[in-house]
């Protein structure tokens, strides 16, 4: 079977398990809502200030929630006896990475479909006029988080303290996409034309391309015991 076929099989299996258990998505959603609420309560009823930092709060919530999802990347495999079932499949092992990456991406994007409107209501900001460019930034930022996150989740898979090691290793690596996504989102929400955000969008694209190529290339080494 082609690489695409095996990637599709892994995505199908992961999403089916997720839909059936709903464990990851529901906890992610509750956690993300909690992060947004805690930030808004901590800052208080200062609406102009909330609007100024809304993009930062939103993306911090996405990254924190993403960590929850990414740490569960291989949970169904562990319950089934480890990654070896997937690794025994004939063909390029990079299919495992691409399948897991796609699954994480779909989950995070589904979460953002709820999180962006929730932030718009909570911080009283108008997102609808910028819906399309915002969606583009959300997709680019989420690709960056998922690409690096899935790879680091693989690297920390066999570590004893992986719950701590994953955020410790991943958060510094996510600084560039976080910077790009926060600045591009804030510029749009402030009413600046999309052109002003172009530099940050270019940073997001560059990060996504570099990390995708490097992580995909290195995955066979990362997955070995």
């Amino acid at each position: 079977m082609s690489m695409a076929g095996r990637v599709a099989a892994i995505v199908w299996k992961d999403l089916l398990v997720e839909i059936r258990t709903k464990a990851s998505f529901h906890s992610m959603l509750a956690f993300a809502a909690l992060v947004l609420f805690v930030f808004s309560f901590a800052i208080g009823p200062d609406t102009p200030l909330l609007r100024r930092i809304a993009a930062g709060l939103l993306w911090v919530a996405i990254v924190f929630t993403g960590l929850l999802s990414l740490s569960r990347t291989y949970q169904s495999e562990e319950a089934a006896g480890g990654l070896e079932g997937l690794r025994m499949a004939p063909g390029d092992p990079r299919a495992i990475y691409l399948g897991k990456l796609t699954g994480n991406l779909v989950l995070l994007l589904a979460l953002e479909l709820v999180l962006f409107p929730a932030a718009a209501v909570l911080f009283q900001i108008e997102m609808l006029p910028h819906a399309l460019p915002l969606a583009g930034i959300a997709v680019l930022g989420t690709i960056g988080i998922s690409t690096a996150g899935t790879f680091y989740a693989t690297l920390t898979l066999h570590l004893r303290a992986r719950e701590i090691m994953l955020p410790l290793l991943l958060i510094p690596a996510l600084v560039p996409p976080l910077l790009g996504a926060v600045n591009a989102t804030q510029l749009l929400l402030d009413g600046n034309p999309f052109g002003d955000a172009a530099l940050w969008v270019r940073l997001l694209i560059a990060y996504d391309v570099v990390f995708f190529v490097v992580c995909t290339w290195l995955f066979p080494l990362a997955v070995e015991d």
């Binding site: 079977m1 076929g5 095996r6 599709a8 099989a9 892994i10 199908w12 299996k13 089916l16 398990v17 059936r20 258990t21 169904s76 319950a79 089934a80 006896g81 480890g82 070896e84 079932g85 997937l86 690794r87 025994m88 499949a89 004939p90 063909g91 390029d92 070995e224 015991d225």
Partner: protein, 208 residues
């Protein structure tokens, strides 16, 4: 061949060859190195030193080609609790490059004594039923080498007979079978050849 995990030496100088189309049983206590040896042969683990080959293909350089001809059924079985038996089979088939047709699912499940289990979630299965489902993966595609880790664990008499029939079927098809089991009595009685691993060394051999 040697393998160590940190300071612990799990395999200490294994020198072994298995004739194609024959069966070998590896016995030994828990921690003797049986699973490590199977995982090295399956190319899931590299030896710390030494080398090996499967059907003339190098363990070090031809992992992909070896895996294309090999099936490895681990003690846990690579079976997903939240999927049904049919979904597990379809997933395993797609992953192996041999998609399982819907009408074949029931036949395959009946082969391992799980008729009418296709739509049941594996979470509801007993240990023995899980083992049986895991064994079906041996039938999904043509293989040259079957590696079975503790295939008798958790099985009743009927289940043990099923594993034996499965091994006989594989041998008749020319497949080499390597089977690891700490239940020496069950496994060695049926094997063409048996080796005992003790503390990472081969200490006993019997050719039947």
């Amino acid at each position: 061949m040697h393998r160590r995990f940190g300071r612990k030496r799990v395999l200490r100088g294994i020198d072994l060859s298995v004739e194609p189309g024959t069966s070998l049983v590896l016995t030994g206590a828990n921690g003797a190195g049986k699973t490590t040896l199977l995982r090295i042969v399956a190319t899931l683990l590299r030896p710390s030193s030494g080398e090996g080959s499967v059907g003339g293909l190098s363990l070090a350089g031809d992992g992909d080609r070896i895996r294309a001809r090999t099936a490895y059924v681990s003690a846990r079985g690579f079976v997903y609790d939240d999927l049904t038996a049919a979904e597990n089979l379809r997933f395993a088939g797609r992953l192996a490059g041999h998609p399982v047709a819907s009408d074949t699912v029931d036949t395959l499940l009946a082969t391992v004594g799980l008729p009418r289990a296709a739509d049941q979630t594996v979470r509801t299965f007993s240990t023995g039923m899980r083992r049986r489902l895991a064994l079906v993966t041996l039938l999904l595609r043509p293989i040259h080498l079957a590696l079975l880790d503790e295939p008798y664990a958790g099985l009743d008499t009927e289940g043990i007979a099923l594993v034996d029939r499965m091994v006989e079927h594989l041998l008749a098809a020319g497949t080499t079978v390597i089977l690891a089991s700490h239940q020496a009595g069950e496994a060695t009685r049926r094997a063409g050849r048996a080796l005992r691993l003790e503390d990472g060394r081969l200490v006993e051999e019997r050719t039947g």
